[in-house]
Symmetry: C3
């Protein structure tokens, strides 16, 4: 007997790191009913769920975890939910009266779209933070900004030839849902119900406009904003997946926001790709040096990171601005982060819904000031300093600040050229009653800030240097675009002199 | 003794999933002779083979597997091959009289290039299906299409300046083999033999024009078409590798067919990359939810997929059209799949070897009709529905169909501009006796359909949305190209008015 | 007792492959002091170091390894270093008097930047080889080449509008450090010291211009050249990471040197990505067929590769030219490798610091001749032949040589067009006193050789064929650029005829 026990314990010791600590959680009757059919009809998502933490731990047990490792942030959770696994019925049957897509499904009220306000039941802190995150407002921030609408229209609209001129028709809903709003999120709206003859007999389903979608700012059928599944992919809702850069890649592959490309070519990205098989993406809290040795996107922007002796380096946040001093993409100039996550109400000196005017002047009232910027920078640098000495970090930051200034200056010159072109009527901009994003010269201009200046800034911010800073949509292309726009202007002026105005 | 056995069984139970179940298969004398030398001279490929299923199971044993898990699809296999491992001699010595590259190699007839007709000995169903797959005809489909030849010529031909004009010389064979025919496949032709002084003494080898090559439609030395090694990489011929998207990436990375890029940025791609270490790519059949939880390229297009209770979701096919309603790349307009895998005989309304005319009208006689399209869509959707509800799938498909229509309309407008340019003589197209793919304006036109409309469709088809649908060779570039071509036409018309015709 | 031992040995046998063989190495007192603080302040890098071979084996033990597996190449190592782990103090305290950044740090002389001359203490052969590697001279090769400076200036310089003209200001140091010199390496220069109030009290640190940087040719504070950490990432200095292509990706992602992109889409890249989880990247020497079955960048260019029976296929080299016949990127024409790693002293027939003149004529005195080229090719082919028959290898090489010739011819035609443009004064080149890299037409020219011809050559060299050889910055773009430059020249000539000279 001694022998047996000795060996079992030896085995346990040897295996401990490899054993997935799976608790047992009773499955509710309602969920069991779901599983009985959907396990057959939709085996993929059921398997995903079975592999999830939701399937193996009850909220009551989850609540007992210590502060740092607790994933359930709500102070109280309804008693009925506490003692069963978080299954199909628990989420799709939650707050049924709030969801316009609720239907009677075999005798149970079920809604298709689970929303952040459903998830809030157990994850209140994250839901609150995310509601203040700019991503949660991604639909309105685009849809309610008249200038962005013009950009969207220039890109997406249906155009046909009529007497030699390109005539523009409105953008259709399906194209919008698949283009900009694929990432920003669609507006989900129940337009009726449909009866389908399924393998389980005739059943009624809601017809949801804008479905499917998992955009970060989706407007849900309960009016809430966002889709937790954008990053916490259904139905495992895995923190491990959200911590990997491939999740961010879904929307940030570029060329407009080349974060993923720059990351994979950075030293950090190299270490991640080369060593990730040895890392632990599941532990909470996430311990630098033990669980991972180089940051992913999540590490710097979202995750709760601690040291091996339990000191907190960064607190978890779902309001990503907390660690960001600058907004470096998507707009003409890099600028301090907006104060409010609702950006469509920002007004620049010219009354336009932009954080800067066309000369780069800040819409100061709507943007955070230097003090708050410094605070955000400090919060971010805490993570850097877990591996880098202060001199390193300061050198990196000095370059980054310089690059923001330098790219803004380059865009200033380019915008000056474009503005002159508009003023002279060589292109039809806002003041000429035109769409400022639809002509050849205007695209040179938008390429410059939307792609090239952005890429240079990302390469700088993430030390993904070399190619993305220079040849891959970087300074080579930025300098070329400036030369091309300058040449266009010069040619037009000469042609004007010679021939009078012409195309 | 009790103690020992208890522990061994405990160990076995714990280890079971990790143990590679390796059977023993006797190696033929002929193969052993090969291994004796080549194990020293080419250790890499010998090691690959040793890791293969071919090395560890005899065809006789493989035949005994049950229907779903059997990989050997031939009803009968020659007795001589049945009881030994599928080794060097078994494949390279098979059907020697059919192969023009057969030589006497140390007393054995050996051919260099193993062909689908060799593989057919054991894998008849796959060989048959593949012979009807459009890829098997990739050489002729390109080489026998006069219009495609013009595109190839415009891209590959050697050009030099002669009195200020670009003079075009024919494309050389090595460039063709390395460019288009790297993926399409080369024509292998034995032009003689050569004696080489090897480490094993003087030996005779065939000289094979077009070698090396592993293109999907390679014309082999036995006249057969295709290269199984294009996807089932030598010499492990691993199904696991073929199931991973990196195999498809070899030819479909874009910008012409950006399938891989779009996939990696899709939700499916994220799940694959983030979780693949936990998946099983080797089991046959492939069980959704257990072996994998998100599709790779193979899952949707080729693989036999089953549920955990053994229900078949999709039957394996090597004729990929079976699950495809549309052909969305490589041609001016998206169109229904061709009826025959031989596409060079297709004729449009204008007599050109294209599935549509320049206005988008279908060459209906050569393309599948709506009924067959619906059937193919249904076959494909069976896989989707293993994880997605019908409402989700229908919404996705409605958007995809809309995108096919919308991108075709955009290309219609762009082609109308190009046609007007040709008609007016601003560029030399087919009717002007020119190559329609070699001038600046013509490249704007081909960019639009060959890169941008394609990319938008792939982003739609694979729900790889965001960036590839908009900024990464997507609608941003498509709309810009339309504007640029429109501007080109307007400028040329004005210059014609002012100066008379000029370049 | 029998029972226990039986089982322990059974366990050991089963686990052997999984056990990381970790030796014990005593940590010096000085290093222990470092670890006491930095383990708290910089847990990430300390954890990295603890996972390193440096932490677990003493140089004395490392010296005892047999020839093929020994990583320490110095014949003698100072006695004081031999018996302790290679820790913080051992490297950062080495050769203190040689380093301008040495400061007193809690009573110990410590320098921030560890250099190849420090690493040379144990790794003399690698340091010597690397000092002859072109990368070690990457700073001077760029900074001391007046023509390259013009290219750098055209890309990086700050430009503003002054009376309608683009006025160029000098490039600032931070931009240079972040752009070209991010990969090439910065010049590290101590400009003073700073007192920082740290968690461990007030401490003095050096202020180092050009820091941080890990470029391949970094000029260190001891005057030595290079940064071993460019590839052997701190502080694990892992050979496994350096052997993976993601390390090379940091600087060679393209479009100027698209090695990584081409690799991932090649058959080799597919095998690597699909099977790397089963490979061993740590063993020295690296055994083909057992440790890996397809090459990474390192395999072909650097690594010591052996067969399972211990035959050497390739000897390790840190002077990569040893296996390279051609230099295929970064310059107007592909050309034989330079003789010396210092390239700024090369002079072409026109006295310019280029390996060819503008017509492609070689600066023969500075380049290796056909004999040495043949030798280098043979060295490289040894690796190919571990998996490929001679016929395969010869066919590959014939195509590659053809592609070098063909792309050089295409660039010849394109440069002829550009030269005519310069001669006629349509653009301001060297002879016109202008920067030959800053105008629209000049960028068409540089795109052609810097991006497209290069990409075609990489696709050829690495058999990454298909897309990169044709549509992805390949021959499609190369042929288009030729047509565009031809059109530009024709238009300018016509406009000159009609209007006199104009922009």
């Amino acid at each position: 007997m001694y022998c047996r026990w000795f060996h079992l314990s030896a085995l346990l010791l040897l295996f401990l790191p490899a054993i997935v600590f799976s608790q047992e959680a009773p499955i509710s009757e309602a969920t069991q009913e779901c599983l009985d059919c959907h396990g057959v009809f939709h085996p993929g998502i059921v398997a995903d769920w079975r592999a999830s933490r939701h399937a193996v731990i009850t909220p009551a047990a989850a609540l007992k975890a210590d502060d740092l490792s607790r994933k359930v942030s709500s102070q109280t959770i309804p008693q009925a939910l506490q003692t069963v696994a978080v299954g199909c019925a628990e989420c799709h049957g939650l707050r049924s009266d709030k969801h316009a897509d609720t239907v009677d499904h075999n005798g149970t009220d079920i809604h298709v779209v689970v929303s952040p306000d459903d998830c809030r039941t157990c994850h209140a802190v994250e839901a609150d933070q995310y509601s203040r995150n700019i991503m949660a407002h991604a639909v309105g921030n685009l849809a309610d900004n008249a200038l962005y609408n013009q950009l969207e229209n220039a890109i997406l609209a249906d155009r046909s030839l009529e007497k030699g001129q390109l005539k523009t028709a409105p953008v259709d809903a399906d194209t919008r849902a698949e283009a900009c709003y694929y990432c920003h999120g669609t507006v989900l709206k129940v337009s009726g119900t449909v009866i389908r003859d399924t393998d389980a007999g005739e059943l009624e389903f809601p017809v949801i406009e804008g479905w499917p979608n998992q955009g970060v700012g989706r407007i849900n059928t309960d009016g809430s904003k966002g889709a937790c599944s954008a990053c916490h992919t259904r139905h495992e809702f895995s923190m491990a997946v959200a911590r990997k850069p491939h999740t961010c890649q879904e929307c940030h592959v570029g060329p407009d926001v080349p974060a993923y490309k720059v990351y994979t070519s950075s030293k950090h990205g190299n270490i991640y790709t080369s060593k990730k098989a040895d890392w632990d993406f599941k532990t909470v809290p996430w311990t630098v040096g033990r669980d991972f040795t180089a940051p992913t996107c999540a590490t710097c922007h979202i995750s709760q990171v601690v040291t091996e002796d339990g000191q907190t380096i960064s607190q978890r946040t779902h309001e990503m601005k907390d660690r960001l001093a600058w907004r470096i993409f998507g707009l003409i100039y890099a600028h301090p982060q907006p104060k409010s996550p609702v950006t469509s109400t920002i007004r620049n000196a010219d009354g336009l819904p932009l954080p800067t005017d066309f000369k780069g002047g800040l819409a100061k009232a709507d943007l955070i000031g230097p003090d708050i910027q410094a605070q955000h920078t400090q919060t971010m640098q805490a993570t850097c300093k877990a591996c880098h000495a202060t001199g390193w970090v300061e050198g990196h930051w000095r370059r980054y600040t310089n690059t923001i200034e330098r790219t803004n200056r380059a865009i200033g010159t380019i915008t000056e050229l474009m503005t002159e072109g508009w003023r002279r009527g060589y292109a039809q901009g806002l003041d000429q009653g035109g769409n400022p994003f639809d002509e050849h010269s205007e695209r040179l201009w938008s390429d410059a800030w939307l792609f090239y200046a952005n890429t240079v800034r990302f390469a700088s911010a993430m030390a993904g240097g070399g190619d993305y800073g220079v040849f891959a949509d970087g300074r080579y292309q930025l300098s070329r675009t400036m030369a091309d726009l300058h040449k266009w202007l010069a040619q037009r002026r000469m042609l004007e002199t010679v021939n009078g105005k012409n195309p």
